[in-house]
């Protein structure tokens, strides 16, 4: 997984490598400085040699400025590398998502993908910055300072070694104990937020049932639990500081005692003692820093994992090796199709009961208008999604224009089979921008024609900016019925051989719905049209109607014949006598 992430550095690899090198240079100087200070004291101040004071002083100043340069450069390069990594991760993930089939998208969910592209990337960016800044610095400082100490006085340095070992094992113990508790804290924290989210969206229900007090109590209970759990975790973590201080002070006192004896015995100098004191602080501080970073990084591992999942995901549907680019006609054939929502990569061992579609075998002639009707969960949407190969069948075959859909180039197939999805969205941009999704180089005239057929032209003409009207994200500024008609127009822009309307006129009033269907048959003759609808009125005029029930085709015949022979169809028809609904007009 780490390999996957590092592979995304791309051209920022240079910065990612240079930054630690710069840091290394800074560290070398930082480690040497206390030694030069000991020279300044022993060879300058103690013996009253002004010349040496100025020489060593000048040297130190130069060193400090050089360190400044390296430090700043290292930081800048680290920033460059980490922001570059973040940008690359975002882009590569985004590109990868574009290759995903519907099944892949379903597996991650829209919210899951958004989190990965935003929050998770930010987490990894911050962690990566930490790693190349501090993980390169702290261990070097630690080792460098230790080496310098041994050079100054090996015996005294043994004090550090003892302190480091004790401190290190204590910190590790603390982390190992605290981390799992923190993970539970985060989980509980998510639960708490879920309950807030529920209350925000369901505030009308809460208020209608006068359950404010009840919800308060539930929330308080959960929040108090979270507080106690946090305290349990933090109680362990705050042990860090006293452990650290004991180590520092132990070293100080030990150094003072043994150092004084050595100086008196003339085996050590005052200057060296001063340097040793500096190194104590440096060594222990860096040890502490490393432990902190270790905790932070291990917490951002979850984010890194989630990103790697996207990058490593294999798209379920890919183009065939030698694809067909031409769809001859609009005929559709289902041959003994069984279908279940499951990953291609998973071991497929579904029993028949888990199929969403079972034993579908039917043939639609080019140019026919077909209605599809059935209850929720009867498999209507799954059925039509197979035609433009949004999902692949598990058994059997779906043929369009006489060829298996798996033989076509995906783009060619989807340009010939235009689907208006049940959950359709418009994108921010003008109406024209949205329509040109169907055909990038369409003239305004072509757009208008499609809108006329989709009964959208009339309301567009009423907008002050007409076709230049700006559509907000998701089409929030047009009504549901208007949005659906714009989506139909957009689908028509492709001049498809097959048009599939998946419950696409549910918010359009009955009269306009009828007008739209009439326009389709009149102005786009020869196009195979599949209409999924809840309303009998929307399908009863179709050439033939498919009645779906529980993943099977219950009947496939004309309206009149179905009324005679099919019980389900008759049921639906009768509950909707007269076929009228009080739908919102336009």
């Amino acid at each position: 997984m780490l390999k996957t992430l590092v592979g995304n550095l791309g051209k920022y690899k240079r910065s990612a490598i240079l930054s630690p090198i710069m840091t290394l240079c800074e560290v070398v100087i930082d480690v040497l400085l206390p030694i030069v200070i000991s020279f300044l004291i022993d060879r300058g101040v103690s013996v009253g040699n002004m010349h040496n004071v100025l020489v060593y002083g000048g040297l130190m100043l130069i060193m400090a400025f050089v360190a400044l340069f390296f430090g700043v450069m290292g930081a800048r390069l680290a920033a460059d590398a980490s922001t570059g990594l973040a940008a690359n991760l975002r882009r590569h993930m985004y590109e990868k998502i574009q290759t995903f089939a519907f099944a892949n998208i379903d597996r991650f969910s829209t919210a899951g993908l958004v989190t990965r592209l935003t929050t998770d990337v930010t987490n990894v960016q911050n962690a990566f910055m930490m790693v190349i800044r501090i993980m390169s610095r702290a261990p070097l400082m630690l080792v460098g300072s230790l080496v310098a100490c041994f050079m100054l006085n090996a015996k005294l340095s043994l004090i550090f070694v003892v302190a480091i070992i004790i401190l290190f094992s204590m910190i590790m113990l603390i982390i190992r104990k605290a981390l799992p508790i923190f993970r539970t804290v985060f989980d509980r924290y998510d639960d708490l937020n879920t309950s807030v989210q529920e209350n925000v969206t369901a505030i009308r229900v809460v208020k209608s049932f006068v359950r404010e007090e009840y919800e308060n109590q539930r929330f308080e209970y959960a929040a108090a639990y979270l507080r106690n759990l946090s305290i349990k975790a933090e109680k362990i973590v705050i042990m860090n500081m006293p452990v650290m201080m004991i180590a520092i002070h132990f070293c100080m006192i030990a150094l003072s005692w043994f150092g004084a004896r050595l100086i008196v015995a003339d085996q050590f100098t005052t200057g060296q003692l001063t340097s040793m004191f500096s190194y104590v602080m440096q060594i222990l501080m860096n040890l502490m820093m490393m432990s902190m970073i270790f905790v932070m990084v291990s917490m951002s591992m979850a984010s890194a994992n989630r990103i790697a999942q996207v990058l490593d995901e294999e798209p379920d549907i890919t183009d065939p090796e030698d694809p067909l680019f031409e769809v001859p006609d609009g005929s559709i054939d289902f041959e003994n199709v069984n279908f279940a929502y499951t990953s291609k990569n998973e071991d497929f061992s579904k029993t028949e009961g888990e199929y969403v579609l079972r034993g579908i075998d039917l043939h639609i002639r080019s140019g026919e208008v077909i209605g599809v009707i059935g209850g929720t969960g009867s498999g209507k949407s799954s059925f039509v999604n197979l035609i433009s190969r949004l999902y692949d069948v598990n058994e059997g075959a779906v043929k369009v224009g006489g060829h298996d859909v798996r033989e076509y180039d995906l783009e060619a197939l989807r340009n010939s089979v235009s689907v208006v999805l049940q959950k359709n969205v418009l994108f921010s941009g003008t109406i024209l921008d949205n329509l040109r999704w169907g055909k990038a180089d369409a003239t305004e005239e072509e757009c208008r024609e499609a809108c006329e057929i989709a009964c959208a032209d009339e309301f567009i003409q009423n907008f002050p900016d007409k076709y230049e009207t700006w559509i907000e994200q998701g089409g929030a500024n047009v009504s549901g019925g208007q949005r659906q008609r714009l989506c139909i127009a957009r689908a028509l822009m492709k001049s498809p051989k097959i048009l599939i309307l998946d419950d696409s006129t549910s918010a359009v009033d009955t009269a306009t719905d009828a007008k739209l269907r009439a326009a389709l048959t009149e102005r786009v003759p020869g196009m195979t049209t599949l209409i999924i609808a809840q309303r009998v009125a929307s399908v009863m005029n179709a050439d033939r109607i498919i009645v779906m029930d529980d993943g099977r085709v219950d009947a496939f015949d004309t309206h009149e014949a179905l009324l005679e022979t099919n019980e389900i169809y008759r049921d639906i028809y009768q509950t909707q006598t007269n076929g009228a609904d009080f739908d919102e007009p336009g």
Binding site: G84, T118, N126, R204, V206, A223, T376, E458, E584
Partner: protein
Amino acid sequence: MAENRAHQGPPPRRAGVSFKEVSQIGPVLKRVLAYTLSKNKVKAVVVVCCILFSAFVHIVNSMFLRTLIDDYIIPLTHQAQPDFSPLAWRLVRLGVLFACGIIATYAYQRLMMYITQDTMLSLRKEVFAKMESLPIGYFDTHAHGDIMSVYTNDIDTLRQMVNQTIPQLLNSSVTIILAFISMLILNIPLTILTLVMVFIMIMMAGKLGGLSSKYFTKQQMALGKVNGYIEEMMGGQKVVKVFCHEEKAVEEFSAINEDLRASASRANKLASMLMPLNANVAYISYVLCAVLGSVVAISGFTSLTLGSLVSFLTLNRNFTMPVTQISMQLSAVVMAQAGAQRVFALLDETPEDDDGKVTLVYANEAEDGTLTEAAERTGVWAWKVPAENGGEPSYVKVRGGVRFEDVDFSYVPEKQILYDINMYAKPGQKIALVGSTGAGKTTITNLITRFYDIQRGQILYDGIDIKDIKKSDLRRSLGVVLQDTNLFTGTVMDNIRFGRLDATDEEVIEAAKIANADGFIRRLPEGYHTMLTGNGANLSQGQRQLLSIARATIEDAPVLILDEATSSIDTRTEMHVQAGMDALMAGRTTFVIAHRLSTIMNANCIMVVEGGHIIERGDHDELIEAKGRYYQLYTGNAVTEG
């Protein structure tokens, strides 16, 4: 939508602030401090004492080098027979002091932990309770994502402020003051030099902060753009696939992604420079002091012993480190400021007011119709109307009669929504509201529940103005089933019991049977104890709706409001739901908003609402006869208008 800001995650780190930004954080800091102190006074005092003590130990620690060198080591080197016992004794005393210092530090950290967690707990509770008390209008005017982000992001920034920023600011300030005094005692010229260097550091940090905040704003804007784009495109990813729009989408994304990278890189470069810059300028300050101190010591210009010099150098570090820390903490406050303000803004919102005096009580009804208050559920409910002069309250039986008299309503003063609404429902009647979206049907029902208050006219419930009824009791007497079913995380049993908390398991099951939900619940893996999560994600829309009907059934309210309760269910499922619904409506006054004919046809009265007016009223046959708007809607001959 609901996840707008909640998903954007933590803002990128940033170090360094401009002086202008620092000067603006006073009020926020003060309020956070006041909030924290209001609940933890004693603990806070102990914490301050501990911080003072540990800062003192810290300074003693750095001054000790001077004592060690000047008072012990140098004299010892001159002794023929060095006597180490005074030094040993001194070190033991020092060890004891250090031990006290460690205890003080640990004590303050531990207390801070409790202060922080308790403050967070009470803050969360208060924010949540406040949110629950706010009028519906608040939720209409604030994006759900923004409200959520108060919990997911903003409260957390406050936690950092309480837990880290405030104690560290205190700690650093005390250390600076003590170090400054000690430095003055040791040597005045060197102190001045140190001050000059610190001044340079502060200026640099301020300058860098100003620059970085400019780029930081740019970065935030670019980030907002990228996140917005991601949310929009991920939401429409399936449409992208259907239209083979992948390449174009990558192209557009690459452009704004690169914009973000460029501005993030600039902002982060500046921000991350602060730490090495400060550290190394501190080093330069240290070196300058060492050189100048050595020169002074050798020349004997002022009395500066070797020990004093070494101690001074340690103090120099102790002085510059807290300066760096303060600048880091201040920038943390600047970043957290907006979040803290949002938390307090929510806390400062005015809750829904409720000055109703009439309450809902259980009652016993005598043969002659007189009502007496009962302590337990009797099946009879009464309105308890307090007498004006504080005398005996009178009782009115709850029957479920609702009357609108000349009601006008608008959400905002300029835009009137409802005009002159007059209507009545006799107890047990079914009133249907039909009309196009936005005509004002839902608004009418929201006035009955007093989610909004009317501007003119009055609404009477059993002859009592609903303004005089306590809101919670008014709502308790109204059962509501909405189009969007909202279920809560918990078992099926919990969700139905939400309608009446003291209902027994048997009563819950009984209600589910009435609502036609018992059958499918029993088929769930764990029946009534099946856990529901994510708004009942494991149920179908129809099943969710059946549960919300069962929830309203168990509430057993005399008046029902059904707002498009069956709209999102397909016709076949609706047949099941309808049966449950009919059982629920029996004997209750019902206001139903629907567009399915089957739901409306048998209503006692149908109101056709258009543009905020009731334009037609009557039963089905009358309205068909009248050949007006209802007839148009019914026959499907509606004139389409844009």
